[in-house]
């Protein structure tokens, strides 16, 4: 197994471990799928995408979609999640993570972040990992 692929598998294993319960099956699905991706770089890109599942919540369905289909009304009402913002212990964590991502991945600031604030970024990342564990 190449270095890139083993890195991809490690990322995916981490995602499975850290994913919230509702996303765990999906991160496992992404992990199993990586064995069917031939190119190593594609596998790594696939694995990096899986980290978004760490922040996926069952409530972030766009409002305009919720009101549209008759299909949705077929589902039993108790299975429908509440839409919009909801206070929960994960919100603070999510807000922190989103702030971290915004600063880290905003194109103009990414280089700046890594050069000048890599310690700060690593500190935030480790805080996120601790919050998940």
């Amino acid at each position: 197994m190449s270095t890139l692929r083993s890195l991809a598998v490690k990322i995916l294993h981490g995602t499975v471990r850290l994913a919230p319960p509702h996303a765990r099956e999906w991160s496992s699905a992404m992990l199993s799928e990586v064995d069917f991706i031939e190119k190593d770089w594609s596998a790594l890109s696939w694995a990096l995408g899986s980290t978004r599942l760490l922040f996926a919540r069952p409530t972030d369905w766009p409002v305009e979609v919720c009101s549209l289909p008759e299909a949705i009304s077929d589902a039993p009402s108790e299975s429908q999640p509440a839409y919009g913002w909801r206070l929960c212990p994960g919100c603070g964590r999510d807000a922190g993570v989103r702030h971290f991502n915004l600063r880290l991945f905003k194109p103009n600031t990414a280089t700046w972040m890594w050069r000048r604030h890599s310690c700060d970024a690593l500190h935030r990342l480790s805080a996120v990992c601790l919050a998940h564990s």
């Binding site: 509702h22 996303a23 099956e25 999906w26 496992s28 699905a29 992404m30 992990l31 199993s32 799928e33 064995d35 069917f36 991706i37 890109s45 696939w46 990096l48 995408g49 899986s50 980290t51 978004r52 599942l53 996926a56 069952p58 972030d60 369905w61 766009p62 305009e64 979609v65 549209l68 289909p69 008759e70 299909a71 949705i72 077929d74 589902a75 299975s79 429908q80 999640p81």
Partner: protein, 97 residues
């Protein structure tokens, strides 16, 4: 509804009875995994998508497969149709009917 969601629904509509897997959908729609999977999660959460695990090849892990439910198919057709009408109306100024 986002264009990406429409892409995914359209991909499902092309083979409505077939079970699809994530990488296949990703290649078909050009969406990255980080965009595709949260979308699939939401569709499944609203009972528009059914999922199952299937062992496809010996020696490889089972794959998570996806197919639109009956209500998912109705929803997808409705969305794709209304978007097509909207595009026609915008482009040609007609009602698109």
């Amino acid at each position: 509804m986002s264009a990406q969601t429409l892409e995914v629904l359209n991909a499902f509509l092309q083979m409505p009875q077939e079970w699809r897997y994530g990488y296949d959908l990703s290649r078909h729609t050009g969406l990255r995994s980080g965009t595709l999977y949260p979308m699939l999660m939401r569709l499944a959460g609203h009972k528009l998508l059914e999922t199952r695990w299937e062992t496809c090849e010996p020696g490889k892990p089972p794959r998570h497969m996806y197919k639109l439910t009956a209500s998912g198919l109705r929803f997808a057709r409705q969305q794709v149709l209304s978007t097509s009408k909207l595009i026609l109306r915008t482009k040609f100024g007609s009602t698109g009917s």
